[in-house]
Amino acid sequence: MELKVVERSATAESRLTSAQSVEVQDKVRDHPCFSKDAHHHYARMHVAVAPACNIQCHYCNRKYDCANESRPGVVSELLTPELAVKKVLAVAAEIPQLSVLGIAGPGDPLANPERTFATFAELSEKAPDIRLCVSTNGLMLPAHVDQLCEHNIDHVTITINCIDPEIGARIYPWIFWHNRRIRGKKAAAILIEQQLKGLEMLAERGVLVKINSVLIPGVNDQHLAEVSRVVKQKGAFLHNIMPLIAEPEHGTFYGLMGQRTPTSQELNAVQQACANDMDIMSHCRQCRADAIGMLGQDRHAEFTLERIESLEIDHAAAMERRAQVRAEIERQRAAKRSRPQPPVLVSLDALTGAKPVPKSRPNDKHAAAPAVSLTKPGFKVAVASHDGQQVDQAFAEAQTFAIYQLDVAHAPRLLETRTVPAAGADLSAALAGVKDCGAVLCTRIGFDAWQQLEAAGIRPLSVQPGTSMRAALAQAQAETAAAITANLDALAPALSA
């Protein structure tokens, strides 16, 4: 009712956005990638089919995967569209919770339109129930919007670091456009124009668009609030700020030049200035471009090419099973929603540090009941913290860990403060130093360390630098409980089938 009143008095442009936002909010609230609850129940995967890129970002070394989408220094196994489809179908047959497939690289999906669309076309045909997403630098987006919409496209992520070509020229030295290399401000102007046009075209067609920006101190830090305003006005449902990563050993221009990375205070300030309207997961962890699985879990190693080639799959039966599993997940989620809500472990206020978290929770029989027994006797978490207040260190450089006891039934308890050798200098010594812990909580974890931690049964968890330790621990506690519940609930029917 209210909406209609707004519609009548509004201009054409704002009418479109307000009408859209209701629909968009509904979509996002329940989305496997953006809803905190749905995220635990559904699996996502990426395939690396798109190697080429058509621009240069100063924070990227093109020896490795697109820095917008991956942890630095990562190289994914490049797949042909044919193999990628096989792999997705194999995964979808074994992990029936799979609901979203992404193409994010290793370069730019739309700089490799043949490979990207060949993959999408075959998948739309063979597994029409799986939704597709792409992440792009946006240069070729307007040219491909219609083609994208022909497929089962669910959402698009565009990395937009600026809307001012002066600033763009300090981030992008050149682009490849209409068969020529274009440099400097002119290049940045074209890129920005295409990005914003692509955003508007997608929003008009009702496709969810998320914007990522890399915060580069002294370059776009003062400018991102303006970027945020403009992209939201043009229909983006989420603006996500990521800190620049620039190390000399990554061989990027910024790394070699000594461009500094943002402090946690700077990052917090910009994130707050660009805050999103909805309480949704804005920070998808910087996963590998070919990761597979549910939150915090990667089953990539199980799906080797040899194994995929040898699998005989009944696709119709697999799709049927996915439909059943999805229906079951939705039934459980609905049942959970209708139960009286337990007190929330992490309130939004707690995350922003506005209100203290209660020291102990009141007795509550409903609260995460199945998880309590599962996590008994709980586990230790090593928190990489310099000052004992904030999570402020990457795993590679952390030497001081606060060791907390975590279980679902009690508030986190500090056991000790421990000094270990920095993982960057001696990974195995660092691993030995935290081997009694069930999880490591830090700001960033390198690829090798990530793998080895997981292999040792230690959950790597990363949060935005500067997150208060209290909030991060509460979040880890809630996530662990939810993940355990979700994994068991969701996997049980699948495994027994």
Binding site: A52, N54, R62, K63, L78, R180, F253, M257, G258
Partner: protein
Amino acid sequence: MSYRITAACVNCWACEPLCPNEAVRAAKPHFVIEAARCNGCEGEFADPQCASICPIEGAILDPSGAPVNPPGSLTGIPPSAWSQVQQAIQAR
């Protein structure tokens, strides 16, 4: 008349799909241009396509053996100005 790829190539694939003559081939240790197929994009494009998208200075040589993208041409910073720019960036 043929262009050539050097050991500086990082195997990024950018050039491969662009060649109008399918002269670029993925190979180990780095991509190669089949000399017999490459015509420098003559009659098709004003600029050689492979060298117009290649992100690595010095990775592609023109028929005379000179790098199409010499040092400083892609970063936009001539080698002589490197340390000056580095200082400016470090002051950010």
